[in-house]
Structure formats: structure tokens, C-alpha cells
């Protein structure tokens, strides 16, 4: 088995997902340490450029987390990111970056446990994919 430790960049919205991650921490859940968290005010702030830059700088995976649809603090930021992702995934594929390296999840402030599961699962999948070329 390889001992590849993937580097994963996580963009978490301030109002739900970051609090969900916080809850995972305060609940003392143990989960994969591979995620580097970047807090943004809203998932709608996440532009394709952020994702491209993360991959360019050596990320093996990028996780975007926002409030559940309908729950965005700014009402529709998460719908914006939802629209951006399908063409962005297709474009990453054209650049030779597997689309599975980008994942979007909705995580509420109450879902600490779910957040930990997502990070574990994503880390495992990226480990299977191996380092980015």
C-alpha cells in the first residue's frame, strides 16, 4: 500500500459548513487530517479561479461546502456555486484533472458528524486516485 497523504483544500462557508466543521472539532470527532480549510463568507464566493489555483498550487482534491439549498445566509449563493460546478468539472477534465477531484457538499451547522464522514470519504477517494499529475 502506498503512503500517499493527499493534500485537500476545503472551501467552507462561514454560516453553516464552517460551523459544522467546528462542531466536529468540539465534539472531538477524529477524522482525516488532510483537509486544509479556507473559510469564505458564502459558497457563492467560490469562483472557478479558486479551484484552478488550488490545483495549480498542488492540491490533490478540492472540497466545497455550503449551506443546504434554501438555507444560504445570503439566500442564493449556494445556487450560484451549484451552477458553476458542472462546466468547471468538465473543464478540469479537459485539463487532465479528474473531475472527481472536485466535490461539492451541503453541510449544516448541526452536521458535525456528517462533515467528518465526508472528509474521511473524500480523503479515501483521493488517495485511491493518487497524486495529481
Amino acid at each position: 500500500m502506498n503512503n500517499f497523504e493527499p493534500k485537500i483544500v476545503g472551501f467552507l462557508c462561514n454560516w453553516c459548513s464552517y460551523r459544522g466543521a467546528d462542531l466536529a472539532g468540539t465534539s472531538r470527532l477524529t477524522y482525516a487530517p488532510n483537509l486544509r480549510v479556507i473559510r469564505v463568507m458564502c459558497s457563492g464566493r467560490i469562483e472557478p479561479l479558486f479551484v484552478i489555483k488550488a490545483f495549480k498550487e498542488g492540491a490533490d482534491g478540492v472540497l466545497i461546502c455550503g449551506c443546504h439549498p434554501g438555507d444560504c445566509h445570503y439566500s442564493e449563493g449556494n445556487y450560484k456555486v451549484m451552477r458553476r460546478v458542472p462546466p468547471l468539472k468538465k473543464m478540469l477534465e479537459q485539463f487532465g484533472i479528474e473531475p472527481e477531484r472536485l466535490r461539492v457538499e451541503w453541510v449544516s451547522a448541526a452536521e458535525g458528524e456528517r462533515f467528518a464522514e465526508i472528509v474521511n470519504d473524500f480523503t479515501r477517494k483521493i488517495s485511491e486516485l493518487g497524486p495529481i499529475k
Partner: protein, 321 residues
């Protein structure tokens, strides 16, 4: 005042930029009054030796069009740099890699295979491909190395000014020549065009922020007063530098992005993808067909002129060289 010395050169180019120089029509005479053209391979017979014999920095301005595709392009760029005071990247290919830059989604090997073996019109049973080095009865032949990736001019030499466009419009060429003649050039590194986005200059009516689908240009006849993007026609205006005089918009066509990114935008394609995908309303995967023109080939669409200028520059598996 002594006459200025101009040089025009073409590297990996379609020739359109040379055409653009000729398209300034009778104004070319003003240019000739102002400057001696000391090097212009497309129009006048020059050899490498002529330029090598020139004194360093003896050319005042070199207008260099085309991208850097092979070793010869790079060598000529270096040689002209040595002989020139002010280097101008002329046209989208020299500035951003341009259309030839789209080849960065593949590499030299794949291109040779396609061109010399796979195209339907090719008959090449012995798989003959050009060699860099070849022995013949008459002597040894050398061809310049064909690179894996296309580069911008600024990737191989220092460039003082950028004149974007595919090709640059006559008015901008004249504006640049006038600025040179009157010694009123902007600070080194400047792009001789607008600073903001094409949308900023475009006077079409804009109102709604969301569109429900993207259409191919042949599917509708767009209203000439309304924003094309809002009518579902893909337009690169939100992520393209102003200054072309809205050539395509005036022809009722969406902008393709040939002026490159506006001031301060580091990646034109990422900015355009963001703009296009944020305004088109789709609720889930089943509605992706509504944005088909965007989803079919997003990278080719948003980086049509600027792939070598982007953050990623080329497909990941293509090693730069």
C-alpha cells in the same frame, strides 16, 4: 528628426496580423514617412544574416506577431530583442498564445500523429514525419524543434507593450504608432487598449441577471439593442478587455475574447467560466442540456485566445518544453 526604424516579424501566426498592418491602407504612407521599415519578411526580402548584421538596439520598435511554437520562433524573438529598443507583442497570439495556443490541450507527438498519419486526406503508409536532423546526399538538413507547448512572446523575452486583438484593429495600430512618434508611450508593460471590460463600454441594454438557457448563434436572430448574453448568446464581454470598438457586438455576434483579460484579471477563462455559469439558471444535472454550448467544450470556449496565458497553461500531462 531622424526617421525611426521599425521591424515587423511573424512567428506562429496565421498571417492575419500582417494583413492588419496592410489594412491601415493609405495611412501606411504616414508610417513610411515616419519610419523606415528595416525588416519585414512578409513583404520584403530579408535574410537572417541581415538582421544579425545590425547593431544591437538599432531597431526602435519591433512589432512581433504570432506565438512561440518552435525553436526558430524563439531564436528570432531573442535575436530581435537584442536588436530592438521597444518590443511590442502584436495580436492575440503574441500576447496570450492565441488560437495556436489551444494546441496546449495536446502535445507535439499527438499533433504529428494526427497531421502526418490520421487525417482522412493523409496517405503516408511509410509513416514519414519531419525529422529535426536529416542526412541527405546534398548534406545535413536541420529543422527547428517543434515544442510540446505554445508560449506567449513574454515567456521567452521581455516585452515592453502589448497590442491585443485577433488581429489588432487599425485604429489601435495607428494609436500605437502615433504614441511612438510623439513619444507619448504609456508606462512600460502597458496594454495599448482599454483597461476595463468590454461590457463596460458596450451600450446594449442590460437588465435581468439570469438566463434560462444558452443558444447557438444560428438558433436565434438576436435583438440588436439588447445584451447578447441576456438573450442566451455566449458573449465573452464580461471577461474581455475593452478597446476593440466592439467589432463583434456591432455585427450582432457574441465577443470571442480576442482582447484577452481586462486589467487585474489573472485568468481570462476562469473569469469567463464564472460569469457564464453564474448567470445561467439550471436546477440540477437533468437541465445541463440547457447550457450545452457551455458544457460541450468549456475550456475551448473560455480560453479560445488565452490558454498559454492561463494559470494552468496546458493540459496537465503535457510537459512544458
Amino acid at each position: 528628426m531622424a526617421k525611426l526604424k521599425f521591424a515587423f516579424y511573424w512567428a506562429a501566426t496565421c498571417g492575419g496580423c500582417e494583413e492588419a498592418v496592410v489594412d491601415i491602407n493609405e495611412k501606411i504612407l504616414d508610417v513610411v514617412n515616419l519610419a523606415d521599415i528595416v525588416f519585414w519578411p512578409v513583404a520584403l526580402d530579408f535574410k537572417y544574416s541581415h538582421i544579425k548584421a545590425m547593431e544591437d538596439k538599432s531597431i526602435d520598435v519591433c512589432f512581433f506577431n504570432g506565438a512561440i511554437r518552435n525553436e526558430e520562433n524563439e531564436q528570432m524573438a531573442c535575436l530581435l530583442r537584442q536588436k530592438t529598443r521597444v518590443m511590442v507583442a502584436f495580436g492575440a497570439c503574441a500576447c496570450f498564445g492565441g488560437i495556436p495556443g489551444l494546441a496546449n490541450f495536446t502535445n507535439a507527438e499527438a499533433i504529428f500523429k494526427r497531421v502526418y498519419q490520421e487525417t482522412p486526406s493523409t496517405h503516408n503508409p511509410e509513416a514519414v514525419v519531419p525529422q529535426e536532423d536529416f542526412e541527405t546526399e546534398e548534406g545535413r538538413l536541420n529543422l527547428p524543434r517543434f515544442y510540446d507547448t505554445v508560449k506567449r512572446l513574454r515567456d521567452v523575452i521581455e516585452v515592453e507593450y502589448f497590442l491585443p486583438g485577433c488581429p489588432p484593429p487599425a485604429e489601435l495600430i495607428l494609436a500605437a504608432v502615433t504614441a511612438i512618434a510623439e513619444n507619448k508611450l504609456p508606462p512600460v508593460g502597458a496594454t495599448i487598449a482599454g483597461a476595463k471590460t468590454l461590457c463596460d463600454e458596450c451600450d446594449r441594454e442590460k437588465d435581468k441577471k439570469v438566463v434560462t438557457e444558452f443558444k447557438r448563434p444560428y438558433e436565434i436572430i438576436p435583438d440588436t439593442r439588447k445584451c447578447l448574453l441576456e438573450q442566451g448568446i455566449i458573449c465573452a464581454g464580461p471577461a474581455t478587455r475593452a478597446g476593440c470598438g466592439q467589432r463583434c457586438i456591432n455585427a450582432n455576434m457574441g465577443c470571442r475574447g480576442c482582447f484577452g483579460p481586462p486589467e487585474g484579471v489573472i485568468d481570462q477563462g476562469a473569469a469567463l467560466l464564472s460569469a457564464l455559469s453564474s448567470i445561467c439558471e439550471i436546477k440540477d444535472e437533468s437541465e445541463l442540456k440547457k447550457i450545452k454550448p457551455l458544457i460541450l467544450d468549456p475550456a475551448g470556449l473560455v480560453y479560445r485566445f488565452s490558454l498559454p496565458d492561463s494559470l494552468l497553461k496546458s493540459k496537465r500531462s503535457v510537459i512544458s518544453g
